[in-house]
């Protein structure tokens, strides 16, 4: 296990360097002079230009800039946003809890519905319920979620008036940002209605973001269950006279969950990609919306930092999933 851990960690380092290199050099490929962009429309004097160039390190050769950047990254310095003039890392960390809260709610919803649905479908293989469920899952999997979001807004926000259209909480409430998680903060504030408001803002974005992972988890659970249900130990459990609920729910599901766990871990990338669209549509103040805004504002320092941080988050989650998988399934360790 230790060998597996070390080998896996060793592949992490070059991938990490590659990710920083890609986010660094991509941004340098963007046409246009960043200093002129920084100076705005008023233009800039040659002296000031040189000064800014030195300040941002643009006078050095490209590889020198890259080394500086990497050095900064290891010290937690991802540069300063061109637009807000705040450190990129600070901006990211302020906005990240919003994305995390939304993503966690979405993945919990996907698991809470997807796994039971997959199990029931597998147990009733080929029957009406199974077919309906799998068709629904395929529809969910094929869903353009940005359109799905608009549709839900038309029906539930503007049509029925049940949920708000955008934001994280009604402007009526104000309380300190203790944890960054609106659900927890609003509860702690003790203000009447604040928690309900936070929940109602969270419902539609959560449904939208959960749609694709939910479909994937349901499909994966079903196929993993089908595989397991044919195994000898399940037949033995049945022969012992255990109730179907116990056989399916304990003996089979436990083993079927191994591949499902992997799929859940790997859907983090999907979630973050989905967050870009979901947050943009619902004006959710998280990193997805921030990335899109930064791209449109040509705030390349922010784009570069955000791109790298998001990739690193995905990499760390994948690493954890791999390690967990190695822990559960000894066959992988040798591979």
């Amino acid at each position: 296990m230790l060998k597996f851990l070390v080998r896996r960690l060793l592949t992490f380092v070059p991938t990490f360097l590659g990710v920083t290199a890609i986010s660094f050099f991509f941004i340098r490929l963007i046409p246009g002079d960043p200093i002129l962009l920084l100076a705005g429309e008023r233009g800039v004097s040659p002296e000031r230009y040189a000064e800014l160039q030195t300040q941002y390190g643009f006078d050095k050769p490209l590889w020198g800039q890259y080394l500086d950047y990497i050095w900064g990254v290891f010290q937690g310095d991802l540069g300063t946003s061109f637009v807000t003039k705040k450190p990129v890392l600070d901006e990211f960390l302020t906005l990240f809890p919003a994305t995390l809260e939304l993503s966690l709610c979405a993945i919990l919803l996907a698991i809470a519905i997807g796994i039971p649905a997959g199990v029931v479908a597998a147990v009733n293989r080929g029957k009406f319920f199974d077919q309906t469920l799998m068709t629904t899952a395929l529809v969910g999997y094929s869903m353009p979620i940005f359109w799905w979001a608009l549709l839900l807004i038309i029906v539930f926000s503007s049509g029925l008036g049940w949920t708000p259209v955008s934001g994280r909480i009604s402007l009526m409430y104000y309380f300190p940002n203790a944890t960054g998680f609106m659900l927890i903060d609003s509860l702690m504030s003790g203000q009447k209605g604040a928690f309900a408001s936070a929940v109602s803002h969270l419902i539609l974005p959560t449904i939208v973001l959960a749609t694709i992972p939910l479909a994937v988890i349901a499909r994966q659970t079903r196929s993993a269950m089908l595989e397991v249900l044919g195994e000898d130990y399940v037949r033995t459990a049945r022969a012992k006279g255990l109730t179907p609920a116990r056989v399916n729910g304990v003996h089979a599901l436990r083993n079927a969950l191994i591949p499902v766990t992997t799929v859940i871990g790997l859907s983090v990338g999907t979630l973050l990609a989905g967050a870009i669209l979901t947050e943009t549509i619902f004006s959710w103040p998280g990193v997805g919306k921030w990335m899109v805004d930064s791209i449109f504002r040509r705030d390349y320092q922010a784009v570069q930092g955000g791109l790298m941080l998001i990739a690193v988050i995905v990499m760390i989650v994948n690493l954890i999933v791999d390690l967990l998988y190695g822990l559960i399934n000894p066959k992988i360790r040798k591979g």
Binding site: L150, L151, L277, I295, A311
Partner: protein, 302 residues
Amino acid sequence: MTEITETPATATGPAHPSPLREFWQYFSDNRGAVAGLVVFAAFFLVAVFAPLIAPYPPHEQFRDHLLQPPFWQPGGTLQFPLGTDPLGRDMLSRLIFGARYSFFIGMVVVSIASFFGVVIGVIAGFAPSWLDTLIMRLMDIVLSFPSLLLALVLVAVLGPSLMNAMIAIAVVLQPHFVRLTRAAVLSERPKDYVTAAKVAGAKPGRLMFVTVLPNCLAPIIVQAALSFSSAILDAAALGFLGMGAQPPTPEWGTMLAESREFILRAWWVVTFPGLCILFAVLAINLMGDGLRDALDPKLKRS
């Protein structure tokens, strides 16, 4: 017993059906896959014959008919069966022309991604271990970025346009082809026919692309089908974010973005383009499932 129903070849069992026939047998067993194929074919015909089918050119504006609802709603007429958009253009015609863009996007993206992906994958499968490691590490790096985010940044670098969006999506989808091809090549390489070809003096290029590659195609074809639908989805998402096809192109995602501010007043300008995307993607995914069942020997009920 007036007829002999059994063929003389009973000793070896019935004659093996041709691969194509066998494939169709498995594929047509899956009703969803056949339905997907029918819808896909219908979309394809619509895309090809768009100028003949569409009642109006996609950019023609009818200034007296801004945001007219579909014909079954009060205020709608059969002149514009699915209504008009905020600029008075016929929705139906724009949707029909939109099919062209989606198919074009799917074709171009899958061609680029699969061509480079397969070539790199075969090379990685045959390469010495340092090159193999290098290639796979590079692919890992690309896969570390959420696909839509990387595509978005790539388009920002290249400049927003449909062509650049297609290139970006192809770059993002290509590592999947590399991984799949490499894995298939690695599982074929130790087989006897490969050794035989090597002993017979096949040059590396021939060995890679003529001897081994044709035996690796099944998973690649399935991946190509699934990539076709992701390409359409991602391109629509980029269009929606303003980084794909630019207005007034009647691309479905771009149409959605253009009409977003009208969702509370005119549901049809938002609903129909999305439905088209959903149906096209769903049809292709259904087909992809059928292809996998038919091509993947592990799942065949033999």
